[in-house]
């Protein structure tokens, strides 16, 4: 069930993620604000899902697996990956958040490659459960991948669905928590210390769970490939909000802001200087 893990090349994955972050930085210059911090924290997660885990279709088209971004505000990374795959037209990204385009700050079903409209937190996991049920009902082996935010784990509706996913034995769900430890008003670990340890919570709800460095694609691949696969699987991905640009890392202001031209230059130089 691990997809293309065997062909994994860490150098290629790093280069891809750097290219995706650079594309988001470039696009940031077209708008007054965007969710850059939360897109950078889940860059390796969404990259691994699209480029390592999800199986390609036989004719290079749509494969059997599905990705739903539960933390919809991170969708810049999804947009640029869909563009990289030739699914999202270049012109759509260039007209992001303008009257000429159709892409906004949150993903909207009907746009190329977007499986569900998210943006309001706590909706994704229940839809993932429904999708996984439909796959099983049709005797298909499609895997449903999703990425949740850690703040989203405060929504009761998320836990309703977590409880059902394991009770229904939906082993075709592979989920990731983008555990960047930040939400709008501060550090999640400070406002909600009782949320931790996370992996144990999911295990106690009947899930298989692992915890890895969410910016280490090799570790993400190993975790997903090594899962037992007899129940839903959750990866607690330790991530850094704003990862890739030093001055954005762990600075709450970069949750929703676009760098000015000077900051943009510094960000690009910083990103490009990284290995």
């Amino acid at each position: 069930m691990g997809g293309g893990v065997l062909s994994f090349d860490p150098v290629i994955a790093r280069a891809r993620c750097k290219r995706y972050r650079r594309r988001i930085l470039d696009l940031s210059q077209n708008v007054s604000a965007l969710h850059i911090g939360g897109a950078f924290s889940c860059t390796e997660l969404v990259d691994a899902i699209y480029n390592e885990f999800m199986r390609k279709g036989t004719d290079g088209g749509r494969g059997p697996d599905t990705f739903l971004l539960s933390k919809g505000h991170g969708c810049m990374i999804q947009y640029v990956i869909l563009e990289d795959h030739g699914i999202m037209p270049h012109v759509e990204l260039e007209s992001y958040c303008t009257p000429h385009g159709r892409l906004g700050v949150h993903p909207d079903r009907g746009n190329p490659g977007i499986e569900a409209s998210t943006g309001s937190l706590g909706h994704g996991m229940s839809m993932v459960v429904g999708m996984a049920l439909a796959e099983r009902g049709r005797r298909r082996d499609g895997v449903i991948y999703t990425v949740l935010s850690d703040g989203e784990l405060q929504e009761g509706s998320t836990w309703e669905a977590v409880l059902m996913a394991s009770s229904l034995k939906l082993r075709n769900i592979v989920a990731f928590v983008d555990n960047n430890d930040f939400q709008s008003l501060g550090r999640t670990s400070e406002t909600h210390p009782s949320l931790y340890p996370l992996a144990e919570k999911f295990r106690s709800f009947g899930w298989e769970a692992g915890e890895v460095d969410g910016h280490d694609t090799a570790a993400l691949c190993a975790a997903v490939a090594g899962r037992l696969g007899d129940r839903p699987f959750m990866v607690i991905a330790r991530t850094t909000k704003g990862k890739g640009v030093s001055y954005m890392e762990n600075v709450p202001m970069w949750h929703y802001r676009a760098p000015n031209p000077e900051e943009y230059k510094r960000a690009v130089a910083d990103l490009e200087a990284q290995p």
Binding site: A116, S117, H123, S126, M127, G130, M131, G137, M164
Partner: protein, 303 residues
């Protein structure tokens, strides 16, 4: 009505392997036992988790299935409202949200179990369609239609048990069109849902007084058959609306809007629940009467 709902849904499930019912610890009686034993993979009980119920239905529909969400009306629409709005309305998915025991049918359970404003709330959501059958036969027609439609979400407002049959000799049921249960020339009763039985009782009394009375089931509350209602306003000298719903957002204000738009000249009387919670208990009829809706009160007001 819930029995005929489950019988119709079971029949549809035998024909459509993609039909699911997702319930929240409340199950329709009757044929639902057959459904759950013959198709256990398509009968999902999420437990007391209504937000999950709606989200799971959305996920099923996103994969092309035909899901029904089912519980008591307050919990199918109010508790998971944002899921109904975003997951079903915004994404325009063909999910039927069944509100069972709607209105004040749960007459002794208190305000937490009453839906006095559900038509207004569901009707405010873009893409949402609303059907409120008036009797078990109409409930069967509506359920079949919901099981086959791909337009978008439906709020199916149904009763509970023991509703009399009102539509045996009515014209055929058609989604989006008002339906005459009886055609007259003087007075027209407009109603929908379980309380239509009271409209029939009032009509019988008026006929005993020598009036010629039409009875119309406005079963599709959204999209409302504006032309059908306009026609009723034009063809009768007296139109009476009876509904088990708050004064805002239901059939009464919409009929008045249409009457204004077409410059109707008929007399128009409306009877609705009040804009107030109900803190008293008793039978369904007694609760309605406490808000001013009973055959006697209606007769006194119109004659």
């Amino acid at each position: 009505m819930r029995n005929t709902f489950s019988e119709a849904l079971y029949e549809e499930a035998t024909k459509n392997p993609d039909l699911y019912i997702v319930v929240a610890d409340i199950s329709p009686a009757g044929s639902m036992a057959k459904f759950s034993s013959e198709y256990p993979d398509r009968f999902i009980n999420v437990g007391v988790a209504e937000q999950c119920m709606i989200g799971v239905c959305a996920g099923l529909a996103l994969k092309g299935c035909q899901p029904f969400a089912y519980t008591i009306a307050t919990f199918s629409l109010y508790r998971p409202f944002e899921m109904v709005r975003d997951d079903l309305g915004y994404q325009n998915l063909p999910v039927t949200v069944v509100g069972m025991g709607a209105g004040v049918i749960y007459s002794t359970l208190g305000g937490t179990h009453h839906t006095q404003e559900d038509i207004a709330i569901a009707g405010a959501i873009p893409n949402m369609q609303i059907i409120a059958p008036c009797d078990p036969l109409e409930c069967t027609e509506a359920t079949r239609w919901c099981a086959r439609q791909k337009n978008g979400p439906v709020y199916l407002r149904i009763g509970k048990a023991g509703e009399p049959t009102l539509t045996k000799n009515a014209e055929p049921w058609q989604f989006g069109k008002v339906r005459y249960l009886r055609r007259g020339t003087d007075v027209c009763m407009l109603s929908y849902g379980v309380i239509t039985r009271m409209a029939v009782e009032v009509a019988d009394r008026l006929e005993a007084q020598g009036k010629s009375v039409s009875i119309v089931s406005v079963h599709t509350m959204k999209p409302l058959d504006r032309e059908g209602i306009a026609e009723a306003l034009r063809r009768h000298s007296h139109v009476i609306v009876i509904e088990e719903h708050a004064p805002q957002g239901g059939l009464a204000p919409q009929t008045k809007q249409i009457a204004w738009d077409i410059r109707a000249t008929c007399r128009l009387d409306t009877f609705t629940l009040q804009d107030a919670f109900i803190h008293n208990y008793g039978s369904w009829e007694q609760l309605l009467a406490s808000h001013g809706i009973s055959p006697d009160r209606v007769m006194a007001a119109i004659t």
